[in-house]
């Protein structure tokens, strides 16, 4: 926020010059906002290194690498045989290609300009670049609704809102990074079309919607929110021909464009998520016809026509609705995908689809996470809603509707907090800008009264001047009052002249809005302090809370900083010490990383498209050793990878995720029962754990030889000693354990040769321990 030094520029003479100054100042501020948005997201690179973060970004990175190496046509036809073994996955047809194509294009462009950046660098910095774009789009959107001042304010707030930072730090190369920009930009073009009624913007709107469909599954939010707004406008009697131009071409073009994206395809006309838009499309035509006929006829005749048209229109509507309902009812899930259903009914996922419920970002958020993610904006939003209602326009009603729906969705899934963030920023920007303009205007009026002795002239000129200069005030509202006072003094004379030329309208309400001088100064100061707190919180959140790449962990203790680089250690071991075609089994969380970093084939990964396959792995992990060995062997698995945090206290390890494996496995294979793993409804791995728990593969792979570390087997995540300390593995052998024991890799022992007669005895005496262990019957099979 470095722009205050230019603020007295508003004192330049002449309206046109002032507008030019305003334009330059506005562009400069926007540039700075972009720089802030970009640089606040670089903490992760500075504090850690320039790496791809977390899980999904690794997949996107791998796809981008493939794209940049093999070109676009190969990409569309890419069948990936290194994941979901033995099924494979058609990547080109099941991925949202927007992000990959964007980064691939940027990489190609840079390379053709002889700027030799690696694909990884481009991927790491895609998210910060697009968050700068998103803040500019926010400016445009808010400007359409409430003017330049509110636009700048909202852009500045969005540039550093923690909720968005959490998804777009450098390295977090995920769909949301570009999708939020696309979302805001689509909304901007919709509102712009609504305000201008130009087909040109309607075309752009459809294309921007296409980009959004390419980027993120969240596009269904747009295709439901815009019809809702259209319906709202119709119901509140705000129908206009601009509304028709904004909506009708969008539906036709948007549906066609969405159907072009392979992952959406015919879903664009077949699933219930899109039906709302078609329904509103029909309603809009009926309404448009009614308005057209109303224009043709005299009011008396129109009443006659009304009954006719409405009855016919309603009949058509009912027929269409009946057809739609029949179509929808004929499909088993009522045409809704599981994720959408869990949005409408928050309890749906936990009841029916454990795989969706198991993901932590699909849980409902807690109250503190609202404060963490949107901070003071939560308190400014109501004020923003009020100021949206003061003169209610089509655009501002859209903002309010966007906010209300986003609040609901963020309450269902913590991940959708991201959709709420732009709405919160826009409304808070509007609120702050309104408050600042009221306060600065009253200061100005008070000052002019103080300095001006003739009451009549000041009374006439000042309301006028205030309306003239609100635009300029809005621009700088965030900063100090001092230049404001100076400008108002200087402007006073000039604005008197303006007041003479322009016919003065009596604006009594403006004079009524004047607050006492001290109060407004105090108000401005307090708001600046509030903004300061917000900025401090955002910087803290960006630096401390959201920058960890989660593949490199750090912890601070008395003896300095500890770095845990175990994940990359393990993946590097895999890529150097195993055969290229070996299959590695792990829980699905680590699938993307294994294929991307170790280049080994995995059984399941984060795409979770095949529940049965994941359930198979879950069953194997929760079965006793022999049964698990059989399952893994049937899947041609060579290595099993588990993540274990008990030694260093890393809480999101496989033991803590284990109950989900049991649930998902048990959902498909009923012989796995969750109560078998719980002692009195409690999940524990200490001495009181159930025997099923202590004998399952996951327990054994995690705690094998664990007692050798400290002699007691004290698990630092769970906070107690483990239940079964000394045991041997019969069907698996440990091949690698990383430095801090966070990743442990086991190899499946080969099947023993069948031996007969004397040889068997010889072998039994020579190799004592494994055969002994194998000979002992496992009671839990």
């Amino acid at each position: 926020m470095a722009e205050p030094e230019v603020s007295p520029a508003a004192a330049g003479g002449g309206g046109r010059l002032r507008n030019a100054f305003g334009g330059v100042l506005c562009a400069f501020t926007l540039l700075l906002i972009g720089v802030v948005a970009f640089s606040i997201r670089l903490f992760s690179v500075i504090k850690y290194e320039s790496v791809i973060h977390e899980f999904d970004p690794y997949f996107n990175f791998r796809v981008t690498q493939f794209l940049s190496k093999n070109g676009i046509y190969e990409f569309w036809n890419w069948f990936d045989d290194r994941t979901w073994y033995p099924l494979g996955r058609v990547i080109g047809g099941t991925v949202y290609p927007g992000l990959t194509l964007t980064a691939g294009t940027m990489w190609w462009l840079l390379n053709s300009l002889n700027i030799p950046l690696s694909v990884e660098t481009v991927c790491v910095f895609t998210a910060p670049i697009f968050s700068a774009n998103a803040s500019w789009a926010t400016y445009l959107l808010t400007k359409e609704a409430k003017g330049t001042g509110a636009g700048l304010m909202a852009a500045a707030i969005l540039a550093m809102v923690p909720s968005y930072i959490s998804r777009s730090v450098a390295g977090s190369y995920d769909n949301e990074a570009v999708a939020i920009f696309a979302l805001i930009f689509t909304f901007y073009l919709y509102v712009k079309t609504l305000n201008t009624g130009s087909l040109f913007y309607a075309t752009l709107n459809a294309l921007s919607y296409f980009y959004m469909v390419c980027s993120w599954g969240g596009y269904t939010f747009i295709i439901n929110l815009i019809p809702m707004h259209v319906l709202l406008c119709i119901v509140t009697g705000r129908y206009s021909s601009r509304l028709y131009i904004a909506y009708a071409p969008l539906v036709v073009l948007g549906t066609l464009l969405a159907a072009l994206v392979p992952v959406v395809g015919f879903n664009a006309v077949m699933t219930s998520e899109h039906f709302a838009s078609f329904l509103v499309f029909i309603i809009l035509h009926v309404v448009a016809l009614v308005y057209y006929i109303k224009g043709l006829l005299t009011p008396r005749l129109f009443k006659v026509a009304m009954t006719l048209v409405i009855s016919v229109g309603l009949a058509v509507c009912f027929a269409v609705v009946a057809i739609l309902v029949a179509l929808v009812a004929s499909s088993p899930t009522k045409g809704w995908s599981g994720r959408s259903l869990s949005l409408l009914d928050p309890t749906y996922a936990s009841k029916y689809i454990p795989i969706i419920a198991s993901v932590s970002e699909h849980q409902p958020p807690t109250w503190p996470s609202y404060f963490m993610d949107i901070n003071v904006l939560a308190f400014l939003i109501p004020a923003g809603i009020i100021s949206c209602f003061l003169p209610l326009s089509d655009a501002s009603s859209f903002m309010v509707l966007y906010l209300v729906t986003a609040v609901y969705f963020s309450g269902v899934m913590v991940r959708l907090m991201l959709v709420l963030a732009p709405a919160a920023c826009i409304l808070s920007g509007i609120a702050l800008s309104e408050v600042f303009s009221v306060l600065t205007r009253s200061i100005k009026l008070q000052l002019s009264k103080l300095f001006d002795d003739s009451p009549t002239s000041s009374g006439d000129s000042s309301p006028e001047s205030s309306t003239n200069s609100t635009k300029n005030e809005n621009r700088n509202e965030k900063h100090e009052i001092a230049p404001k006072e100076k400008t108002s003094k200087k402007n006073r004379k000039k604005e008197k002249e303006v007041a003479e030329s322009v016919p003065v309208k009596p604006k009594k309400e403006n004079r009524l809005l004047v607050l006492p001088f001290e109060l407004s100064v105090m108000g401005i100061l307090l708001l600046i302090v509030l903004g300061g707190f917000y900025v401090v919180h955002c910087v803290w959140a960006a630096a401390e809370a959201y920058s960890a790449p989660s593949i490199v962990l750090t912890s601070r203790s008395r003896d300095g900083l500890h770095v845990f680089d175990d994940f990359r250690e393990a993946y590097a071991w895999l890529s150097h010490n195993t055969d290229v075609d070996d299959k590695v089994a792990s829980w699905w969380d680590y699938g993307y990383q294994t294929t991307a970093m170790a280049n080994r084939t995995v059984i399941v990964d984060n795409n979770t498209w095949n529940n049965t396959h994941i359930a198979t792995v879950g069953t194997a992990m929760s079965s006793p050793e022999k049964a698990a060995w059989e399952i893994f062997n049937s899947l041609d698995v060579k290595y099993v990878l588990v993540v274990f945090g008990g030694l260093v206290g890393y809480p999101s390890d496989d033991i803590n995720k284990f109950l989900w494996m049991v649930r998902i496995g048990g959902g498909v294979f009923p012989h796995i029962k969750e109560p078998d793993y719980l002692r009195d409804g409690q999940y524990r791995v200490d001495a009181q754990a159930t025997p099923t728990m202590l004998n399952c593969l996951m327990y054994k792979l995690c705690y094998y030889r664990f007692v050798e570390t400290d002699g007691k087997g004290f698990d630092r995540v769970r906070g107690y000693e483990i239940g079964k300390k000394h045991f041997k593995l019969t069907h698996f052998e440990e091949v690698f354990t990383t430095h801090h024991w966070m990743v442990r890799i086991y190899k499946l022992k080969p099947q023993k040769n069948r031996v007969r007669g004397k040889l068997k005895k010889l072998k039994a005496s020579a190799k004592t321990s494994p055969t002994l262990a194998a000979g002992r019957k496992n009671p839990w099979q």
Binding site: G197, T203, S241, Y244, L260, G295
Partner: protein
């Protein structure tokens, strides 16, 4: 009942009178819209008879017609002199927008046709 029929007759008469007053260029657009909608209906009827097997072809055919009709309606709204909202929009600009939008629409349809 006779009252209702006379009302309807009056209504149709005055509708026809009012419509007769519309300028010729708007009437041409109306004809175009009617033609597009009729084509769409024929395609839907054909789909009902034959089945929707190449679904993308059916979709692109119908949506092409509907899209053409919708865009023509938008053009009609914009060039209508009675419409106060678009007073400062020259008809040439409206037509250019219309052509652009149609271009995009039919490029997409050609791509989708399969």
């Amino acid at each position: 009942m006779p009252r209702a029929t006379s009302d309807a007759k009056l209504l149709i008469q005055s509708l026809g009178k009012a419509y007769a007053a519309t300028p010729t260029n708007l009437k041409i657009i109306d004809l175009y819209v009617g033609f597009a909608v009729a084509t769409a209906l024929i395609q839907v009827a054909y789909m009902g008879l034959v089945g929707s097997f190449p679904f993308n072809s059916f979709l692109s055919g119908v949506l092409s017609c509907i899209g053409t009709a919708v865009l023509a309606v938008c053009l009609r709204i914009q060039v209508n002199k009675d419409n106060k909202e678009f007073k400062d929009l020259p008809p040439e600009r409206a037509f250019a927008d219309f052509v652009l939008c149609n271009l995009v629409l039919h490029l997409v349809i050609m791509n989708f046709l399969g």
